[in-house]
């Protein structure tokens, strides 16, 4: 397998674009990524398009906007890991030697649709009659499992929202850029306990793109190629309750082991992580799944400040966080988590998310992340999980 580098990235500001169609959003991101790489569409040998709602042809429709060069197009759907799976297919195409330059695009237009799940015949719908299958409930129960195992409190999860909303104020590409102190998060209406409204990601529209090429070609396009040190995809292995309550932990742990082994690093080497905080509960679970802290330490880890920008709690939030600080806990990793504001603030247009996370890490590794820059970031990881279930991890190195 050849070494693979990222030479161009882009994402459009996530939000709502009722006057655009999704191919136009994706084409904007695609052209911006080409410009970032200093190349034309004619150099791109294949397109990998991630979009969940388009039944087929999402990538062809993007080329019908930004340049119909007749190249191979692969359309990818893999739940919330759709964009990052498209990225990984692009990575494999370069690594295998099949192509020298390819593009991965993730896009989605969700409008104002909620995350309630199925909407079939109301007489035969299971939602609310045989438990709940909407995403806030599934991740509420996943949080409940952590509460059961370790005595985690709702406030601990809420701190992840406080942090990510704080980070988002420094990200002009985020859908929401609004701070929310702890009492505001706790007092927003409950959607599915322990997740309140401000502990749930919004729906929206968005697109992001990346240009990948072989490492030997990368210097033709940029002085700052970013190396893809590992690109991993796992699915959910059999687990006892997994067919009833999706197990978001095991497949992430499996992916993390492969990613660290492949990249030849450990969690202590990571300067930053963009992880899949679709709900505040998920962020804490993934601290442990990714080895940023030990099992049962996630609540202490978020309260320690380790995952906040600058690895410390900002002065204005110290009072909020103080009751949850364990002075005997010393973090063993320093990865800032979700400097972008995370899905909780940046937004989660499903198919776009996995490529946007990668773009965010690239911005930081190049030193282009503005006020939210993770100082001196050299190693970053992008994590995405989609239910039913798929997990991707991409380790990027300066």
């Amino acid at each position: 397998m050849r070494e693979v580098a990222i030479v161009g990235v882009s994402m459009i500001k996530f939000g709502r674009y009722p006057d655009r169609d999704v191919a136009q959003l994706a084409a904007r991101a695609g052209l911006d990524a080409l410009k970032d790489a200093g190349m034309q569409i004619n150099s791109v040998e294949a397109l990998y398009s991630g979009n969940l709602y388009a039944t087929s042809g999402s990538g062809q429709r993007i080329l019908q906007q930004m340049g119909q060069t007749g190249i191979p197009v692969v359309n990818v759907a893999n739940a919330c890991a759709t964009g990052s799976t498209a990225f990984r297919e692009a990575y494999l195409a370069i690594a295998s030697g099949a192509y020298d330059i390819v593009m991965a695009v993730g896009s989605e237009q969700m409008g104002k649709q909620g995350l309630l799940g199925s909407r079939g015949d109301p007489a035969t719908s299971l939602e609310g009659r045989v438990g709940s299958y909407m995403m806030p409930a599934v991740f509420g129960m996943a949080g409940s499992e952590h509460m059961r195992a370790y005595g985690t409190q709702q406030e601990h999860f809420a701190l992840a929202s406080v942090k990510n909303h704080f980070h988002s104020t420094m990200n002009p590409l985020a859908q929401y850029q609004k701070e929310s102190p702890l009492d505001e998060v706790m007092n927003s209406r409950v959607i599915a306990y322990p997740n309140t409204l401000l502990m749930c990601c919004p729906t929206g529209d968005g697109a992001a793109a990346a240009i990948l090429c072989s490492a030997e070609k990368a210097r033709q396009f940029t002085t700052q190629p970013i190396k893809v040190a590992a690109s991993v995809l796992t699915s959910d292995p059999f687990s006892d309750r997994g067919l009833t309550l999706p197990d978001i932990n095991t497949l992430t742990r499996n992916a993390a082991k492969i990613a660290y082994d492949t990249a030849g690093i450990g969690p202590e080497d990571l300067d930053q992580v963009e992880l899949h905080d679709c709900f505040a509960t998920a962020e804490l679970l993934h601290y442990e799944n990714l080895g940023l802290c030990g099992d049962g330490e996630a609540a202490k880890h978020v309260a320690s400040g380790a995952t906040w920008l600058g690895n410390k709690i900002p002065a204005k939030y110290q009072e909020d966080v103080a009751p949850f600080v364990d002075k005997t806990y010393a973090p063993k990793t320093h990865a800032v988590v979700n400097a972008s504001g995370g899905l909780l603030s940046k937004g989660h247009p499903l198919g776009a998310t996995g490529v946007a996370n990668i773009a965010e890490i690239v911005f930081h590794l190049r030193g282009q992340a503005g006020n939210r820059q993770v100082e001196g970031s050299k190693v970053g990881m992008a994590h995405v999980i989609g239910l039913c279930s798929a997990c991707t991890l991409n380790v990027l190195v300066k």
Binding site: E127, G128, S132, G140, M141
Partner: protein, 142 residues
């Protein structure tokens, strides 16, 4: 057209793993056991994802009692289900877990200890345009 008699409305289980009896007291949840590796599943199965075999599967009657594994209090109503309500995963003694609603207790986290013992009951939850009734299972504190 006129001579085609309207089909008599039926009473149907909302999920395939609920077996209906003559009365609601006789309803039970059904499961299946893989003849190759012994893994238990909720409802009927053709294949076993644990041992990758086609069984054969033995049909099993599941217990009507269990324990709350985890839960969420849902405050998001649907057009036909009132909120708040408790959605939970209940472990059954056979080693399987089911999605369910917990009723008979105020939907407040302080009322729902992990491991709470619960007992199953069934009731009609909906009716379609043809007049067919749908029966769902739920749990309440034992």
């Amino acid at each position: 057209m006129a001579e085609a008699a309207a089909a008599a409305p039926e009473i149907r289980p909302l999920v395939p793993y609920l077996t209906l009896g003559e009365t609601r007291e006789q309803d039970y949840l059904n499961g299946s056991k893989c003849g190759n590796c012994g893994t238990m599943y909720v409802g009927p199965r053709l294949f076993c994802p644990k041992c990758s075999s086609d069984g054969p599967f033995e049909s099993v009657r599941l217990s009507d009692h269990g324990e709350v594994y985890v839960y969420s209090v849902i405050h998001q109503a649907t057009p036909y289900v009132k909120a708040p309500y408790i959605a939970a995963i209940v472990d059954l003694p056979e080693g399987v877990a089911v999605n369910t609603n917990i009723e008979g207790v105020e939907p407040d986290p302080k009322n729902i200890p992990f491991g709470m013992k619960v007992k199953m009951f069934t009731e009609k939850v909906s009716e379609d345009r043809e007049g067919n009734s749908y029966i769902a299972y739920k749990f309440k504190p034992a």
